[in-house]
């Protein structure tokens, strides 16, 4: 239960980190809070050759609500979000999600950017933020680019992030006060990874996300249409049918708990 040998770089600047990544000769991994990577390395499920620690890189831990969109730095921890540092209705939604992530001692270290980049299919932020919509901000040696959260995660532990890129922030819509949202997780134990996630946000656009799917979370268009046309509840059988339309490869129980998650997320949104 100890990690395999690796080299370690404490990057001073983003450019240093990007340069190291660009010259990678092996598996180089960016270290955020390390709360997902750490266990995987101790279990030797992950054996990177080099870790690039971003903790000394300035400018990655800000929360900026001054613009039209809300910009949250990649190194913002779940605990800071839980403690309400993200303002407004978006902040209320994120606070709710953050409070349910693992345990406080993990939330103190784990980061939003790390969660999105690590792309564990059972993690909260990939599903929760997909339901908000928005973009990830990605730094590369050629400068910054943005990519929509839609389609950013492409599979289990797989995203559109290049090997020489670093996720530096996420830009999210500022929900107006009173926007309806609901988030529901089915998990064997609170705090452990989810078995099913349902997330719905009825903002400028209606988004309904089926998460913890074993692969990437996906939006359920039939549920979004139903909610967009005024529905205020979603039965489990309807949810099962609508999720099935996406051919997620669930067995009967997986389909059931994902339907329950979405049905109850809708229920919470309209409670």
């Amino acid at each position: 239960m100890k990690s395999a040998k690796f080299d370690y770089d404490r990057a001073g600047t983003l450019d240093d980190a990007l340069a190291t990544l660009g010259n990678a000769d092996g598996e180089f991994r960016v270290l955020g809070g390390g709360q997902s990577l750490g266990p995987m390395m101790n279990l030797r499920l992950a054996q990177p050759d080099r870790l690039i620690d971003l903790s000394r890189v300035a400018g990655l831990d800000g929360i900026d609500a001054s613009g039209a969109t809300l910009r949250i730095g990649a190194r913002v921890t779940h605990a800071r979000i839980e403690d309400g540092e993200v303002p407004g209705e978006t902040g209320a939604y994120m606070k709710y999600v953050a409070t349910g992530i693992s345990y406080r001692s993990v939330r103190n270290r784990g980061t939003v950017g790390g969660s999105l980049a690590h792309a564990d299919p059972s993690a909260d932020w990939p599903s929760a933020l997909l339901a908000l919509g928005g973009e990830v901000v990605i730094a590369g040696r050629g400068g910054e680019r943005k990519a929509p959260l839609d389609g950013f995660q492409i599979g289990p532990f797989a995203t559109g992030l290049g090997y020489d890129e670093i996720l530096v922030a996420v830009e999210l819509p500022q929900l107006s006060d009173g926007t309806k949202w609901g988030y529901y997780k089915v998990n064997r134990k609170p705090g452990e990874f989810a078995d099913a996630i349902g997330a719905v946000v009825l903002g400028n656009e209606v988004r309904a996300v089926c998460g913890a799917t074993g692969a990437a979370p996906f939006r359920v268009d039939a549920i979004e249409q139903k909610l967009a046309t005024g529905a205020t509840e979603l039965s489990i059988p309807d949810a099962r049918d609508m999720i099935s339309g996406h051919d997620p490869g669930f067995d009967d129980y997986e389909l059931q708990i994902h339907a329950v998650a979405l049905s109850r997320a809708v229920g919470r949104a309209f409670k």
Binding site: M1, K2, S3, A4, K5, F6, D7, Y8, R10, L31, G34, Q35, G38, P39, M41, N42, L43, L51, D53, S55, A79, S102, Y103, R104, S105, V106, N108, R109, K189, P190, G191, E192
Partner: protein, 155 residues
């Protein structure tokens, strides 16, 4: 090897460590502070919980190199700490420990609850404690001890 400087329980030490050395092993094997226990080494059981810059973290999944510049408080470093003193008394009075192996991490987690969530009720206490496994007590004494300290701190 990487050089790190860490303050543990008020004592600042500078040392070369392998990058793969966990903070827990640094504390236990290099600093000989064996009150921090290893229960699972994959971040589930919470026995290794210590304070890092005042916040509880799991020292088994935190590399020592990452703690460079940090202030660490282990179970051995709380003797002057008021909430910990209250918790130790309450754990003692409520039979909140048996074998004692989970206790150091449990106390650090409990200290976080009583300082961060002064209004927590039993359900919240149980939820917040769910990140620390105990095999002996059925959690009854632990929950009662934390509730007792929350109550004491409210008056």
């Amino acid at each position: 090897m990487s050089e790190i400087t860490v303050t543990i329980n008020g004592e600042t030490v500078t040392q070369n460590v392998e990058p793969r050395l966990s903070l827990a092993d640094f504390i236990r094997d290099h600093r000989r502070l064996t009150g921090t226990h290893l229960g699972c080494e994959h971040g589930v059981c919470g026995a290794c919980t210590v304070l890092m810059n005042g916040e509880p973290v799991r020292s088994c999944i935190t590399f020592a190199v990452v703690a460079d510049g940090a202030e660490i408080t282990t179970i051995e470093g709380f003797d002057e700490d008021e909430p910990m003193t209250q918790l130790r008394k309450a754990f003692h009075e409520n039979h909140a420990l048996q074998c004692g192996y989970c206790t150091p991490g449990m106390l650090v987690a409990a200290r976080d609850i009583v300082t961060r969530l002064p209004d927590a009720d039993e359900a919240r206490v149980r939820l917040e404690l769910a990140g620390n496994l105990c095999r002996c007590t059925g959690y009854v004494g632990i929950v009662n001890a934390v509730l007792q300290v929350l109550e004491e701190r409210r008056v």
